[in-house]
Every structure is written in C-alpha cells, then in structure tokens.
C-alpha cells in the first residue's frame, strides 16, 4: 500500500515547498500544517497495523529480498506516533523561538529533512536503506546544529561531526561484512538466514561494528562525548528536537537489529549490553549532578536515560523489551518537554545558568506546573508515565534475576530525582538572586510558549493514567520483536 510510504512522502513534499518559499510567516504555518498531517498519518498507520497487520510496501514493485521494502510493524508504528507528536509540539514552539535569529526557510527545510530521515529509519526494512536514512539525519542535523554560526556552535558542530561520521563509517563497514557473509540486505531475509544457521563467529565482526556504530548514535557509555559537547550550543528549539529524536533512532536501530537478526551468541551480547547500560546510566546521572546549566544537566540526563532503554534490550524478555519501548516513548515526550521549558525559562530570564535565575514559582505558577509534570515523570513519580516505564523495567530485571543492573537503575532514579529537584529549587523556589532582574528581556509568554509543553505534559499524564492500554501496545510490539515470525513472513511472502 502506498500509505506505508506516507511518513516519508509528507515531509518530502514539504521540503520541496520550503525550497521555493522565501522567508515568511507562511513557512511557519505550513510547517504546523505539515506536522499535523504527520500526526494524522501516523495515527492512521498505527490503526492499520493493529487492525490489518504489518504493513509492507515493496518500492518499485521489486519483491523482497531483492528491492527495498518499507515495513511498519508495531514498534515502527509506536515510534512514528511518538515522533509525530514531538514534531507537532516543536512546530508550535518554533513560532516564538526561530523568529529572530534565523532564516526561516533554512530551519524549516532541514527540520523536515530531519523528520524524513527519522521516519525513514523507523519504517525501512532494508539495512542499507537504514544507513541512507541515518545519513539523511546526520546531514540535516549537521546543518541544524550549526545554524547561526556562532563560535560555540561551530565548535560543538565539529565534535558532533567527528564522532558521528566515524560511527557512520563503522556502520557501513559492518554492513559490507554482513553482506559478504549472508548475501542479502533485506532485514527479514537476514533474520531468516541468521536464525536458521548458527554461524555466530562469522557474523560477530559485523555485530560489533553495528553495536559501536549504533552506540555512537545512541550515545551509550564510552561513546557519548559528542552529545553534551554539542547539544547545548544550538538554538533551544533544535536542541529539544534532537533530544527527542536523534539518540532514540540509535536505540531503535539497536533494538531492531539485536532482536531481529543478531541473535547468535546471545549470552555474551546481552551481558555486554547490560554492563554498558549500567555504566551509561550511572555516568550520565553522575555527570548531570555536577552541572549548573539547565541544558547541560538535561543533556547528561539524556545519556543516563538511554541506559534504561538499553537495559530493557539487555534483559531480553518480552516484558523487558516492552519496558524499553515504553521508556523510549515516555522519554521522548518528557525529555523534549523539559528542554522546551528550559527554553521558556531562558526567554524570561535571559540565561540558562541556574545560579542566575530564581523566583519563577511566584512569577509564573503556570510554568512551574508545566515543568513539574515532565520533571516528576522523568524522576518516576506515580501516576506519571515515568513511574510505569521504570516499574516495568525493574520488574523484568528482578524476575530475570538481573539484580545488579536493577540496583544501578534504582540508584540512577535517585540521581535523576536529585537533578530535577536541583532545577526545581534553583529556578522556581529560590528567591531571585541579588543583582539580577526578574525579567531582563521583558519577554511576555505567548500561547506558542505554553501550548507545546501543555500538549506534551498532557501526554505524559495520559500515558500514566492509561498505562495499561499503552503497556498493551508495547507488549504486543515486544512480542513481535522477540518472536519475529510474522515480520519475516509478511515481508518475504
């Protein structure tokens, strides 16, 4: 069905429009329109996946495994849904934050190119095509992160570029080795081949290359240094967008390849993944505690949260993978939301330094409420989404006797709580420090500042209140991942 390609085609059409359109207010409204269409499309596609089954499109009529196939299964559907929500809120948010510094057309052009890349990575069923979408993401994020050409941005851009290009090259090399061993690039075909035979040793070099490559993209423990060095330099809209989407694509790719076809030698790989998950959590969480700049705290935080998602993959029971998916969606929503709020704070106060701000609770109680929802959600308070995400992961960890990683995760939850409390106390409860003004920029908040956080906050609450329903979705996706017979059959029929 052609509808399967819509998550790629919709941004593609808008890219064409933005190429011809000159900077104007129209671009912003069009981007809002485009992201609303994406929400509708992803809801429609997910409903098709649940009602009819896995959606497959063989591009150009070339049957799998010869051509490129696009495939939407439950996991892809959930990821598309989450992405479209993030994109919609960022579109609204960009109204007040992209206005002055940037040429509009450039930002919106690469914004949609990034969305196209992310959606493409989620729905492709071809491993080389995945590489191409990763490069689309990489190129557009290069441009976005250096948009504005400030000194710090260029410096952050170079660091971002250096590690990510290296990761892409490793991915490509792994791909070459994998193709040399199996003679196919179609993921379902790869799964069919590699699940039948036990040639673990021949595939292990490719596996380690894939693991390091996706590890760089997902910012796991020894490979995360590009993230805190570059994220805080970009415009806050772009940082929020990246925090919601970029690392999650890496995690998605890890989950996809390690559940689908890298299934040999499971004991070794799952142990390695668990060790890395634990270290990622702890190092990210500890690094966040030493920071006093909101964006840096939140950047280190992204890393510590990546650990939880990888942990779910490492435990590798349906419950744990479902927990990882739940956590991923929860994290995309809540993390983007905290970044959006930190942008609003800096708009009011003119700075991201926590030591120079204060008194926001009295100044703007609504903002305080909007912040406390994602903050408590990230820290794991019931009845918000983070509680259930962590609960599922802890439960699966204890059931599977992975006590050490569960302990590390619990400890990291404390560290998260500490960081969130730090922002809360410093920015909201503390009095305005002497010698600084309450509102130096004289900015008034408009509906475009508040609305995206309100949307995302509501989703966080809804994911907590209707946790049962959402968990059902995740568990179905996880079952289809752990036992991908349906995926393979649908694709190769």
């Amino acid at each position: 069905m052609i509808t399967t390609a819509l998550p790629i085609l919709v941004p593609f059409v808008f890219i064409i429009v933005f190429l011809f359109l000159r900077s104007s207010r129209l671009t912003q409204w069009l981007s809002l329109f485009g992201s609303s269409i994406l929400v509708v499309v992803s809801v429609y596609l997910y409903s098709r996946v649940t009602s009819i089954g896995i959606q497959v499109l063989h591009v150009g009529g070339w049957k799998a495994p010869f051509g490129i196939s696009l495939v939407i299964d439950h996991l892809s559907g959930i990821m598309l849904l989450a992405t479209s929500v993030i994109v919609l809120s960022i579109s609204v948010y960009s109204f007040s934050y992209i206005e002055k510094q940037f040429p509009f057309s450039r930002f919106y052009l690469f914004f949609f190119a990034l969305i196209m890349g992310v959606n493409g990575a989620f729905i492709t069923g071809d491993i080389f095509n995945l590489y191409v979408w990763f490069e689309v993401i990489l190129m557009s994020s290069f441009v976005l992160i250096t948009l504005g050409s400030k000194k710090a941005q260029l410096e952050g851009g170079i660091k971002y570029m250096a590690l990510n290009i290296f990761g892409s090259l490793l991915f490509l090399a792994g791909l070459g080795l994998l193709y040399g061993q199996t003679g196919t690039l179609n993921m379902a075909h790869l799964a069919a081949i590699l699940r039948e035979e036990q040639h673990a040793l021949q595939v292990n070099p490719a596996t380690i290359l894939f693991f390091v490559a996706f590890g760089i993209k997902a910012a796991v423990f020894p490979l995360f240094f590009w993230l805190p060095a570059s994220y805080h330099t970009a415009n806050i809209t772009i940082t929020s967008l990246f925090s919601g989407l970029l690392t999650k694509v890496g995690v998605y790719a890890l989950i996809r390849v390690f559940t689908l076809f890298f299934v040999q030698d499971q004991h070794f790989w799952h142990n390695l993944i668990l060790i890395i998950a634990g270290l990622t959590m702890l190092v990210g969480g500890l690094a966040a505690t030493s920071q006093y700049e909101t964006r840096k705290i939140l950047s280190y935080h992204i890393i510590s949260q990546i650990g939880y998602m990888i942990m779910g993959l490492g435990i590798f029971t349906p419950l744990a993978v479902a927990g990882a998916i739940f956590f991923m969606v929860h994290n995309m929503v809540a993390k983007t939301n905290t970044f959006l709020i930190s942008g609003v704070i800096s708009r009011l106060k003119g700075t991201y330094q926590l030591k120079e701000v204060g008194g926001l609770f009295i100044q703007n109680p609504l903002l305080a409420i909007l912040f406390i929802i994602p903050a408590l959600s990230l820290a794991g308070f019931p009845p918000l989404s983070g509680f259930f995400a962590k609960f599922i992961l802890f439960k699966s960890g204890i059931e599977n006797h992975n006590y050490l990683i569960t302990a590390a995760a619990l400890l990291t939850a404390m560290l998260t709580l500490y960081s969130m409390t730090k922002i809360w106390i410093e920015a909201f409860l503390k009095k305005q420090p002497d010698g600084t003004e309450a509102n130096p920029a004289q900015n008034k908040l408009s509906v475009f500042d508040i609305l995206p956080s309100a949307i995302l906050g509501l989703i966080s609450v809804a994911m907590g209140v209707f946790a049962g329903n959402f968990f059902g979705m995740c568990l179905e996706a996880a079952n289809n991942l752990i036992n991908p017979v349906l995926y393979i059959e649908t694709m190769l029929q």
């Binding site: 080389f128 191409v132 490069e135 990489l138 190129m139 290069f142 441009v143 250096t146 050409s149 000194k151 710090a152 260029l154 410096e155 952050g156 851009g157 170079i158 660091k159 570029m161 250096a162 290009i165 290296f166 892409s168 090259l169 490509l172 090399a173 791909l175 070459g176 080795l177 193709y179 040399g180 003679g183 690039l185 805190p228 060095a229 570059s230 805080h232 330099t233």
Partner: protein, 113 residues
C-alpha cells in the same frame, strides 16, 4: 586480487586512523576521507571479486559466475554520501577557521566544561 585489495584496505584504514588522531582539523578531515575510501573498498569486495565478468548486460553470454551488482550500487551510494559529508565538514572547518583562526583540535575546549 582480493588479497591485494585486503592489504590496501588495511593500509588505508591505518593511514586514516593515524590521520584522525592528529591535532589539526584539516588532517582529521583527510583521515575521514581515507577511512571512507577504505570502507567503500571493503563494501566493494564484500561479495568477492569476479574479474572480467559483467553484471547484467543485454546480450552477454553467461558462462561462469556473474558479478554481483549490489555492492557496486552500494558503493556508488556511499561515495555520493561521502562526498556530501566531506564537503560539509570542510565548509564547517572553513567557517570555524575564519571565525576563530585556529586549526588546533586542542583549542576546542569551550563547550566541554
């Protein structure tokens, strides 16, 4: 033929690894070029070299193995992507140099604090 290419790939990887460990940003980018060429070659020989045989050419008589077209297509795509990435990183380096006047990676410490 494969042995020769394998040695060449190893050599390119070694040179690339050496270059990306240098302090200059420009040399880093040159290292990336080496690494990306090594990777392209690695993908190219992944299906084995079938010397002197066509891929799919109209009218060609099939005696013996045909060349696998897929790695060639993959390498073409990878080369195009590599071109884009190298030009972007050069442009970035150029902008960074005209902004700060330094080509030294050790000077890039401001965003890490």
């Amino acid at each position: 033929m494969e042995i020769t290419l394998a040695i060449l790939i190893g050599l390119l990887y070694a040179v690339g690894a050496y270059m990306i460990l240098r302090r200059s940003i420009l040399k880093f980018i040159i290292g990336i070029i080496f690494l990306s060429n090594a990777t392209n070659l690695l993908v190219f020989i992944s299906s084995g070299i079938v010397a002197g045989k066509p891929v799919f050419v109209k009218g060609a008589r099939i005696d013996g193995p045909l060349a696998d077209p897929l790695p060639q297509a993959l390498v073409l795509t990878a080369i195009v992507i590599g071109l884009g990435i190298v030009v972007f990183s050069l442009a970035l380096k150029y902008k960074f140099f005209s902004e700060t006047g330094t080509d030294d990676l050790d000077q890039l410490k401001k965003t890490d604090e």
